[in-house]
Symmetry: C2
Subunit: 200 residues, 2 copies
């Protein structure tokens, strides 16, 4: 069953992004946006569910859990559901993994204050909606997992939508919400093609 993009349904799913020398996505580049970067790696493997510990040969791994949306209203959720595409589209051979951490000042805000910055001021959902269904997205929470980041967002898109994706991240990074981001790394990936002659 392909995962849906924004939609969260059912139990939280643990997802581990393992950077190393093998994986279904090859790393095009790893760029620090704010704060410390992550170590270079050739590939990233996306592991869903609880499995073994970090595999041998991994350079780093990041874990996150899909969960219920924390700010989205019913109207926004319905609008997202109506337009979004799921992960794993054959045409979506490009991906981005963007780990971010928000500042203590963000986490000290009350729910109504965070919601006001997230949507009323920053239009986070409204901006994201403009890029559906071209850009598929899945958000993973990791603040409660004792991880170095608070969120891992995974995006998938076709090569012809790369410019749209650049515009999306540029617009989000210009928002009031992003003033609370104190670490961000931008990892771009291409899906590894099956080897020529392989019998799929």
């Amino acid at each position: 069953m392909p995962a849906t993009a924004h939609a969260y349904s059912g139990s939280p799913l643990l997802v581990t992004f393992v950077a190393g020398v093998s994986g279904e996505w090859s790393v095009d580049r790893i760029s620090p946006v704010v704060g410390e970067s992550l170590a270079p790696a050739a590939s990233i493997a996306v592991r869903e569910g609880r499995g073994d510990s970090t595999p041998a040969g991994s350079v780093w791994s990041l874990r996150g859990v899909t969960s219920n949306a924390r700010y989205t209203t019913r109207a926004e959720s319905d609008a997202l559901t109506a337009r979004q595409a799921g992960l794993h589209r054959p045409s979506a051979t490009r991906a981005a993994l963007i780990p971010i951490r928000k500042s203590p000042a963000w986490w000290a805000l009350a729910q109504d204050e965070r919601r006001a910055i997230f949507e009323a001021e920053s239009r986070h959902t409204t901006i994201g909606l403009e890029y559906l269904p071209a850009i598929a997205r899945r958000l993973h929470h990791c603040r409660e997992l004792h991880e170095p980041f608070d969120f891992l967002t995974w995006f998938e898109y076709a090569p012809e939508h790369e410019d749209q994706f650049e515009e999306l991240v540029r617009r989000l990074r210009a928002t009031k919400e992003w003033e609370f981001v104190d670490r961000e790394v931008d990892i771009r990936l291409s899906r590894v093609e099956p080897a020529k002659g392989s019998s799929l």
Copy 2:
């Protein structure tokens, strides 16, 4: 540094409640409220932070993480902060650990729908405020930790406030919000007195 009750500040703190034969709290009773109960145990130890794995002799253990409030507005948060007491008051020799799980229907709701049930309909924060500072409280989140419950709430109070505590839980269980609770266990505890003659 004593933990504050409602207030969340700083990084998430992992707390493990270990039921077994030793611990600073002795179990008075374990009562199922909705769904399956937990196995009987003589004592509960409260471990803060990341430590070793489950100690030998434990009957069960539950883990949760303190985190930012998900529904509380700034006005509500300020009202709570002004009135609440911290954990570990010498007079608070009674405690309750109440693990709850909410239904898939709850988690499928959007943020505005959950907030409306939590406060506009159920007055969760408003009711809780009435029992401050007598009843100290700390909420632990565990939905993202692959635990059997979604929340572990820990309460501390003096013996003379036991009736107030009974009233608090009775009122909360009668709310609309509690219609979404599909598992709840109520564990009551008394602080273990230092042994006579011990040199504290």
